[in-house]
């Protein structure tokens, strides 16, 4: 962990050595997510409710998934570019150092500009938050959901990037699950068929990032009839994913170390 922050800190310094680029990236980061929400807001100029949800309720869903996703995105660094690191030989160089490869990859090219994107998620959430009747229990669920969400998205990033140990140039495949996952979670699940929601619960448990916890915050029950305790099960989903991710990552690294030359 210490090594992670030290490497990350140096990358921040490097980014600041190109100030114009750094600041446009910061602005770009804020804009990308801002315009993203504007699209949803513009949809509401044509409708009053969307899948049974108001704009602010969707803002709540949007805020929670965005905060978790953008933090995870910042933490994974160059993990998405494993294939490129394999081809360039950088991965070999990392393996001759006494810090775990995953830590080095995560800290590599750490991008502070992503703070802007996290900030935008926070802003949307803050705007939507007054519709929740806050109490300590709800606050607890919120914190639990965001922490678990970061872990869940982090695991999704790592797991699907690991595929690049098998096919080094298929990095885009992971985008369908990472960026695609964040995009799908911005919408209320009620607009999707039951099968999609089931898959997002049992196969790729992204519904635990925001859907079930936000239903609790809003005091509603799941329209698909999921068990009530799912609303508190985010840490459990995160834990299961961590186990799977550790297995997949080790398998990937083992494959690299026993098939290369």
């Amino acid at each position: 962990m210490r090594a992670y922050w030290l490497i990350a800190l140096l990358w921040i310094r490097a980014a600041l050595s190109y100030p114009v680029s750094f600041w446009t990236m910061m602005v770009g980061g804020v804009l990308i997510t801002f315009l993203d929400f504007v699209s949803i807001w513009l949809m509401f100029t044509h409708i009053d409710s969307y899948g049974g949800f108001s704009l602010r309720e969707i803002g709540l869903l949007y805020g929670v998934t965005s905060i978790a996703f953008r933090i995870a995105d910042m933490l994974v660094g160059s993990v998405e570019k494993i294939g490129q690191k394999v081809r360039s030989g950088d991965l070999d160089a990392m393996m001759t150092k006494p810090v775990p490869v995953l830590v080095q990859l995560c800290a590599d090219r750490f991008e502070l500009r992503r703070l802007g994107q996290i900030g935008q998620g926070v802003a949307v959430f803050a705007w939507a938050a007054p519709i929740v009747d806050w109490n300590p229990q709800r606050l607890g669920v919120l914190v639990m959901a965001i922490v678990s969400g970061v872990v869940i998205y982090f695991c999704v990033f790592v797991t699907f990037s690991t595929i690049q140990f098998w096919t080094t140039d298929a990095s885009e495949f992971a985008n369908a699950f990472t960026y695609g996952g964040n995009t799908i979670m911005q919408y209320p699940m009620t607009i999707f068929p039951r099968e999609v929601v089931r898959s997002l619960t049992y196969l790729l448990p992204l519904t635990f990032v925001n859907w079930y916890p936000c239903l609790f915050l809003l005091g509603e029950t799941d329209p698909f009839g999921a068990p009530g305790w799912f609303r508190f099960a985010s840490p459990l989903a995160a834990l299961v994913l961590v186990g799977i991710t550790a297995l997949v990552w080790r398998q990937g690294l083992r494959r690299y170390r026993s098939t290369g030359s």
């Binding site: 140096l10 490097a14 360039s88 160089a93 393996m95 001759t96 170390r257 098939t259």
Partner: protein, 315 residues
């Protein structure tokens, strides 16, 4: 026990080829095959061979990056593939064609980062930084971003970086590639001093035989995954099946010289080249020639190491 012990080390990998629209065939290729050698602490060993002979595969197994498919390797008493991270603290690796420095950061920051990664004690770090920076002439470059360094400067930076944590072994992969003559000379001098003063064991792969001649007491030649020669540099010359050459300048042009134990390989006016086995003495040959011909001048040429190695690969 030796510092590096390699026994019957093998490494296979599979190449898949498209044989039809959907059918694929796979060929098993042996990158390294039954390789055996030992290197003692303080040795400077040249590890040479043609491209694809298995040099970098060997280094990757010795650093623990790759898992061997057969045989065993022990480095500093550790099995590299199982204890890679532990071993990493005791070895230094420099890949000549790419840098392990951080491209956008000044050299000083890269060093600082490595200090934290390797958890180098302050005293060691300061001493090494002072020593290496002075000897590698990096003093003025510490605040320059790596991307602005020349190839030679970057290589020196990379070597200093690999030595900050006092490694017992330094692996160098093509350390002088692309450097000019002056930089090469300086680098070799530094490595010699390092080995002399700190007893750092050096294993270097190179295509530049000048590196070998300047640095290595011992050479391991690898071809097609297996060692074809292992011994001191002088015996590579004699043992390689190469020949020495006696160059004779006669007073007048003459028919090719006929003497026992040598044969004429080239005639150019009054000058003739006689090849004789590198292992035998030149004295009897010289006296024979002097007795039979009017000689103006004589000289003996040692075999060119490149020819020797070319012979080895060919045979």
């Amino acid at each position: 026990m030796s510092l590096i012990e390699v026994k019957d080390l093998s490494r296979e990998f599979t190449i898949r080829k498209r044989a039809g629209l959907l059918r694929r065939t796979s060929v098993v290729k042996r990158a390294v095959h039954d390789l055996t050698f030992e290197i003692d602490a303080g040795e400077m060993v040249g590890y040479i061979g043609p491209n694809g002979a298995g040099k970098s595969t060997t280094i990757k197994m010795l650093t623990g990056i790759l898992v061997p498919s057969g045989g065993s390797a022990q480095v500093a008493g550790l099995e590299p593939s199982r204890r890679r991270r532990e071993l990493a603290r005791r070895i230094g690796v420099v890949f000549g064609q790419r840098t392990s420095l951080w491209w956008d950061l000044p050299l000083r920051d890269s060093f600082e980062l490595l200090r934290r990664i390797y958890r180098i004690p302050d005293k060691t770090f300061r001493r090494n930084l002072e020593d290496h920076v002075a000897m590698l002439d990096l003093g003025d470059l510490l605040d320059t971003p790596v991307r602005q360094l020349s190839l030679g400067q970057r290589m020196r930076g990379d070597i200093a970086a690999a030595l900050l944590h006092d490694p017992e072994i330094l692996y160098l992969d093509e350390p002088t590639i692309g450097l000019d003559v002056v930089s090469k000379g300086r680098l070799r001098e530094f490595l010699r001093a390092l080995n002399h003063e700190r007893r750092t064991t050096l294993m270097l792969t190179t295509h530049d035989l000048g590196d070998i001649e300047a640095l290595c007491d011992r050479v391991i030649v690898i071809d097609d995954g297996t060692a074809v020669f292992d011994g001191p540099l002088p015996s590579l010359r004699t043992g390689g099946g190469a020949s020495r050459t006696l160059v004779v300048d006669l007073v007048d042009e003459a028919a090719p010289i006929a003497v026992e134990g040598a044969e004429v390989v080239k005639v150019e006016g009054p000058r003739q080249w006689l090849a004789f086995p590198a292992g035998s003495s030149a004295a009897p040959l010289v006296s024979q020639v002097a007795a039979g011909y009017d000689v103006a001048d004589l000289s003996i040429h040692e075999p060119d190491i490149e020819d020797v190695i070319r012979n080895l690969y060919g045979g």
